[in-house]
């Protein structure tokens, strides 16, 4: 498999604090990676750097072979728009737009808003019949599925999910994980940050962070393709 994402000796330093300390890791195309760790372990910093929302203090970040560690904010915005799909713990749907309009917002910034495509994305996460509902009319699980549909709509190189099941009950957690399994089968690369062991265990590979360093990087033996 070819490398999609490569972190080479990446550090993020705030004064005396090393939020990330000489981290190196590689994510292959189509791989499903879970990043786990307690609060303050550097998960969010790593997410920000992989998600092109922050730059490392030291080291290199290669996305699809391109070094993005020295890119300007404008270039990082373009890379994020074109290559990355984001899924959030708090869903972050725009409250005055309905489900399909929320999906179309991502299209709007990427290329062209197309309602048919947006509806197809909602159908993919089982929400076509809820397309015209406002976020306030959707359950937490449904809102997270809209968030997933929005992340998928522009066919990104990589899906980056930050605690995607953190606000969901077990039933909805399973629905979201089933969608992730489906995406993985279709060849989508997934990087999921979580502190939930159940979510970490279903990934193909689990990376554990502590005090800004990778303390383990293991393939999940029980992973079901």
């Amino acid at each position: 498999m070819a490398s999609l994402l490569e972190l080479k000796n990446v550090s993020k330093i705030y004064g005396d604090l090393h939020a990330l300390d000489d981290v190196s890791l590689t994510v292959e195309k189509g791989e499903w990676v879970a990043i786990m760790g307690p609060s303050g372990s550097g998960k969010s910093t790593m997410m920000n750097i992989i998600g092109c929302m922050d730059k490392p203090s030291l080291g290199q970040v290669l996305l699809d072979g391109k070094d993005i560690s020295k890119e300007s904010q404008t270039s990082l915005t373009t890379i994020r728009r074109d290559k990355i799909g984001l899924i959030f713990q708090q869903f972050h749907l725009i409250n005055y737009l309905n489900a399909v309009e929320n999906v179309m917002v991502a299209q709007y910034y990427h290329s062209v808003p197309d309602e048919k495509e947006a509806l197809a994305a909602l159908e993919r996460v089982g929400l076509k019949d809820r397309a015209k509902h406002l976020p306030s009319q959707l359950s937490g699980g449904e809102q997270q599925r809209v968030c997933i549909a929005r992340a998928l709509i522009n066919n990104p190189e990589i899906i980056l999910a930050d605690e995607p099941t953190g606000n969901l009950d077990e039933a909805n957690e399973n629905i979201v994980l089933d969608i992730f399994r489906q995406l993985h089968k279709e060849g989508t690369s997934l990087v999921v940050v979580t502190h939930d062991p159940e979510v970490g265990e279903v990934a193909q590979r689990t990376i554990r962070l502590e005090h800004g360093k990778i303390i383990s990087d293991e393939k999940n033996e029980n992973f079901v393709e």
């Binding site: 074109d82 984001l86 972050h92 309009e101 991502a106 808003p113």
Partner: protein, 400 residues
């Protein structure tokens, strides 16, 4: 096609943001509507009130006079030329006066030949007890004359003019009168029976005169001559001073002057009114701007996560600014439309209550009000929107 779809989505986003979050935006909209209403209303008043003021001031009488300048009297031709300097729409009316000294019961009285239709326009403040003359031999007399000669409405008397028979006397007007010659000077007493049909009360010098038609004055004096004075009533929106200068310079033998107390009070009131309108409009627009800026600051603070999300989804700073500015401008446009209609209603109410007349609807004021509202809202949005640019997209990854 692509641009259309993007444009459609842009309008959808900004309009839905306003429609579905109306409880928040209603304060800003109200501020804009109030600002636009005051702007449209006061501009309507500013344009219409000078006309109404001028009409109101016309009830105080003429505001300009023509007098002979180096000549004995003013001819019809001179008056016509002088009036040609005043646009027809600004000329409310004019009355030439011809004064002659004559007697009633051997007591001297000044008679003034006038056109009574003209007088009604140039001296509408005359309080006439009785009626205006409609035929020869009928006169209006001033209250002082009535008192002196103990005359009332309906009374008849005789006016006598002592005419010196000179070359300019039209002897055909005095065929039957006895001409007396003393020391080579020929003269004749010419009589005109008159009937009082009205008594004038003005509290001013008009009460000392007898007013009659030109033909009666001509008959009484047996002389054809011009006029001693012309009273002119001009709508002052056109600039009275410039008219008097042009007329005095352009018509030889005639001098145009303003009747200061009328013209000056018109001018003073209009100047004060204009200043007041400018000040009130400026203050209201400033308050509108402050209210919109405050609301937009609160809106942007509330929507920091949404801004972060949009940036995380790939929105450039320009897109974010465009969307918030678009919301502000749309709000300004809607406020401008409502304000231009309500402004007319406001001006109409003011006009009816203050001037007792209806106001003219200024169609061009609709786009002007909308553009002004959009501009004011746009300026008010600029500072708060700048803070949207500083929002970090990573904000959305940090949870609550």
């Amino acid at each position: 096609m692509i641009k259309n779809k993007k444009r459609l989505m842009f309008f959808k986003m900004i309009s839905l943001s306003l429609l579905r979050r109306r409880s928040r935006m209603i304060v800003a909209l109200l501020a804009i509507v109030v600002g636009a209403t005051v702007l449209a209303g006061l501009v309507t008043i500013y344009y219409d009130v000078p006309r109404q003021m001028s009409e109101s001031m016309r009830s105080y009488g003429a505001n300009m006079i023509f007098t002979p300048d180096g000549t004995d009297s003013l001819t019809d031709e001179m008056i016509e030329r002088a009036l040609s300097y005043i646009p027809a729409r600004d000329l409310d009316g004019y009355t030439p006066y011809r004064y002659e000294n004559t007697t009633i019961n051997k007591n001297p009285v000044t008679f003034a030949g006038v056109d009574f239709d003209g007088v009604k326009k140039t001296a509408p403040y005359w309080n006439v007890d009785g009626a205006y003359p409609t035929r020869d031999g009928e006169v209006l007399i001033g209250a002082n004359v009535a008192k002196t000669f103990n005359l009332g409405v309906g009374d008849k008397t005789v006016a006598v003019s002592s005419i010196e028979i000179t070359e300019d006397v039209d002897e055909s007007l005095i065929p039957d009168y006895e001409i007396i010659e003393i020391d080579g000077v020929k003269s004749a007493d010419h009589e005109l029976p008159i009937k009082v049909v009205g008594i004038i009360q003005t509290g001013s010098s008009e009460e000392d005169y007898v007013y009659l038609s030109y033909s009666d004055v001509e008959y009484l004096t047996a002389k054809h001559r011009g006029y001693d004075l012309v009273e002119v009533s001009v709508n002052s929106t056109g600039g009275l001073e410039s008219y008097t200068t042009s007329i005095s310079n352009g018509v030889e033998g005639l001098r145009a002057k303003l009747i200061k107390h009328v013209a000056a009070s018109e001018s003073a009131v209009l100047t004060k009114l204009t200043s007041l309108i400018f000040i009130v409009t400026a203050v209201v627009l400033l308050l509108t701007m402050i209210c919109v800026a405050t609301t937009m600051t609160a809106v942007i603070a509330e929507r920091r996560k949404e801004i972060g999300l949009r940036k995380a989804l790939g929105a450039s700073n320009l897109s974010v600014v465009g969307e918030f500015l678009g919301e502000g401008l749309l709000l300004g446009g809607v406020g401008g439309i409502l304000g231009s209609v309500l402004g007319y209603v406001f001006a109409e109410i003011v006009s009816k209550n203050v001037f007792g007349g209806s106001i003219t609807f200024l169609w061009w004021l609709i786009p002007v009000t909308i553009i002004a509202s959009v501009a004011v809202t746009g300026i008010a949005c600029l500072i708060p929107i700048r803070s949207a640019v500083d929002v970090d997209p990573a904000l959305v990854l940090k949870g609550e």
